[in-house]
Amino acid sequence: MASTADVSGLTELNGPPEQRSDDAHGYYTPAAQKLVDAKAPTGLIKDRWTTRKMDNRLVNPANRRKLDVIIVGTGLAGGAAAATLGEAGYNVKSFCYQDSPRRAHSIAAQGGINAAKNYKEDGDSTYRLFYDTVKGGDYRSRESNVYRLAEVSANIIDQCVAQGVPFARDYAGLLDNRSFGGVQVSRTFYARGQTGQQLLIGAYQAMERQVAEGTVTQFTRHEMLEVIVVDGTARGIIARDLVTGEIETHLADVVVLASGGYGNVFYLSTNAMGSNVTASWRAHRKGAYMANPCYTQIHPTCIPVSGDHQSKLTLMSESLRNDGRIWVPKNKEDCTKDPRDIPEEDRDYYLERIYPSFGNLVPRDIASRQAKNMCDEGRGVGPMVGDFRRGVYLDFADAIARLGEDAVREKYDNLFDMYERITGENPYQVPMRIYPAVHYVMGGLWVDYDLQSNIPGLFVTGEANFSDHGANRLGASALMQGLADGYFVLPNTIRDYLADGPFEQISESHPAVVEARTSVEERISKFLSIGGSRSADSFHKELGNIMWEYCGMERSEEGLRKAIDMIRELKAEFWSDLKVLGTADSLNQSLEKAGRVIDFIELGELMCIDALNRRESCGGHFRAESQTEDGEALRHDEEFAYVAAWEWGGDGGQPVLHKEDLIYTAIEMKQRSYK
């Protein structure tokens, strides 16, 4: 922790950034003034959250049941928030597009959840978890938010254990944990490879308990399609009942978006097929700022694409890199050979060669980018997809020779089985093939310290907001943020807003409500009336190819400009050549898809503009124009240590760029190095 200058948080350690480049000139309008998080606390960093909780006003229990809260999404953040606000006595309405809240995509997280419990007495602390998270995020997250996250992390484990979440235990019956993602302490709690499922079921059960109590009403198979904003304040949503097609108006005193991330903008990702950006994007179009949209986390160990039919990518646990050795053939002509016939001297163990001290365990962004470089050089392996072989070997032959097949089986059995099921190849005999895939997004709607967007009454939690992960996310920190926001942060901040209630009653005939509803209905009839020739899915695939090619792991000014043009053409084509069959008044999955795809197209354009503006390499975002002499990522803190918060500029208009400076008081910014 040598880079800690001042643990108190009382002195500013960096000045405001001054951007010199202007690559996105002509694509955006600069805001006149800097964006300020007016609620950002000051003072000793360790006291900020305690002070805020004390300062935030209370709501009398008798008044709580008169206040209506809408929560969109039932993953870790939304499910936990619904359970907690229901317990508190608010009148909660919870929405999800799935048939049950238990199916939200948090369920698929495998590895674990971090918490500063220091059970192993190995030097862990709130401060160290905070430090690792800020550093891992490449110094692009907010210090106060991350400290709070680390601070409440220990309570999350207590809460989940009390709910009956079956975490791994040692022989004394106490909780076990392990180290994860290159961190030097053991702070990751886990339930085999299904931590996300077990945590989500805990939150879901807590929420169902409130449904039984009558404090939470759940609306499953419902999709939010618009935010209702009355006099500048969020007062409800327009949702579609996905079974009957009915367009419903739901009014409330406050709206919470907990609708997850938008990695599906890339079409192929590890996200669930239904994960979408619609809730966030509709809010953005209504005035909510979208922050750092280009920050995408690419995960290095996924099963590669096998053909054009592929609908999604499956993650293999990163733990495989502990024993597997990554290589590609030295010679292009060997790429089609059986890997077992390629002699040792013709293999390039490129991570071990370039990063001798970290080898195969370099961080996610570096492992991902080097895999792409190898394939771009024409040394990729596996099936030809398009004009590329997109795969590198992850070879367990050495580990099997050293530890024996049984020991390897014991450690990785379920992963090896899953791999064989998907690829049809036996990884005990033939090296696995892996390739990077889009996994998580760190961008999202801008929120203040209270998790409130710039639209009063619209709160955003979990992956849907931008605040805690910076430009990169460490392993096991996403589950931590989802539950921290849902169980502990939001319930303590939203009450300060609700303390102003009861709010003026709004009727369904209010012009703002009618306008929101009409716009949804018109949009749906537009989708059905275009009568073109292409499915929404085909547009989504095309968008995904553009995004992956030009706004994926490596980006350049030239590529991004090209991508923006291509996306604009695609958007025009969407509105003239879309084909959606069926009707609006029934279950219609093609219609659902169409609405999501056009939102992804608009978001994709903004992601490219954001990436174009940010002429620095940061986290998973590598700008070709910003690298060190030996090809490593190069940040420019003095220019870009800011949050880019984009305001919707209207259809055909330019987005407006608001900048919020990132000023550190407890941690000094440093370049990362893994050589």
């Binding site: 238990r102 449904v211 053909g307 049809g424 999955q589």
Partner: protein, 247 residues
């Protein structure tokens, strides 16, 4: 490969349904079963016929959304979820029958989609520990014996897909119910509510129209997460204990 598909089409819950035949060509054995249906749907869209509605989401075997009866078997011929079933499990020229889950308590919504919300209502009847947020004791203050914690975990792997119900000739949800009863019953945190929980969850199960269990065992054979049959013995034992205790 080329395949003939016989698929259940049903406009909505009120309409009568019927099997219809489709052919698909050039299916790769690397496709998942759902990607094969995507291919068919893209083809139908081009032909101007409304695509087939089916439930799916994570496509990595964990969310429990996918729910197809394939040739009369829940999730098809392998012990896995439909999304993790691949076309290499089938042969060129084969005819495959695809139907929705079959059970009174799972009414058809459209085509291959059924309504599984009865599972949520069973959980609402007591499938939780009544702890409020913020009031939990320090996690290690209540040790859980490792073997019991392991068993709790093994049965907590249930993904709520409903294959057990679809496979059961009686349409019973006893495996689903038994998994939850056992998960919470094995942990110290689940003890205070244990007797009341089983009584009210079983009552809700019956109220929803699920059938009784006659120990046929089709459920565990169809379960993609291999939940063992002994959770039903545990369920019955806990239910007897709760009745004796006056619940």
């Amino acid at each position: 490969m080329n395949l003939t598909l016989k698929i259940w089409r049903q406009k909505d819950a009120q309409s009568a349904g019927a099997m219809q035949s489709y052919s698909v060509a050039d299916i790769s054995e690397d496709m998942s079963f759902l990607e094969m249906l995507d291919t068919l749907n893209e083809q139908l869209n081009e032909q101007g016929e409304e695509p087939i509605a089916f439930d799916h989401d994570c496509r990595e075997g964990i969310c429990g959304s996918c729910d197809l009866m394939i040739d009369g078997q829940a999730h098809g011929p392998e012990v896995t979820t439909t999304c993790q079933l691949h076309m290499r499990s089938f042969e060129d020229g084969q005819t495959i029958t695809i139907e929705p889950w079959r059970a009174n308590a799972f009414p058809v919504v459209k085509d291959l989609i059924v309504d599984r919300s009865a599972f949520d209502r069973i959980i609402q009847a007591g499938g939780y520990v009544s702890v409020n947020t913020g009031s939990a004791p320090e996690a290690n203050s209540v040790p859980a014996p490792r073997d019991k914690a392991m068993r709790a975990f093994n049965v907590a792997t249930c993904i709520g897909c409903g294959a057990c119900v679809a496979a059961c000739p009686n349409g019973s949800a006893s495996l689903f119910l038994g998994a939850k009863i056992t998960h919470l019953g094995e942990l110290p945190q689940g003890q205070p509510e244990r007797m009341g929980r089983v009584a009210s969850m079983v009552a809700q199960h019956d109220h929803e129209g699920f059938g009784g269990c006659t120990n046929i065992g089709e459920c565990t054979g169809a379960c993609p997460k291999e939940i063992p049959l002994d959770v039903i013995s545990q369920l019955n034992k806990d239910l007897r204990d709760s009745l004796r205790a006056g619940f």
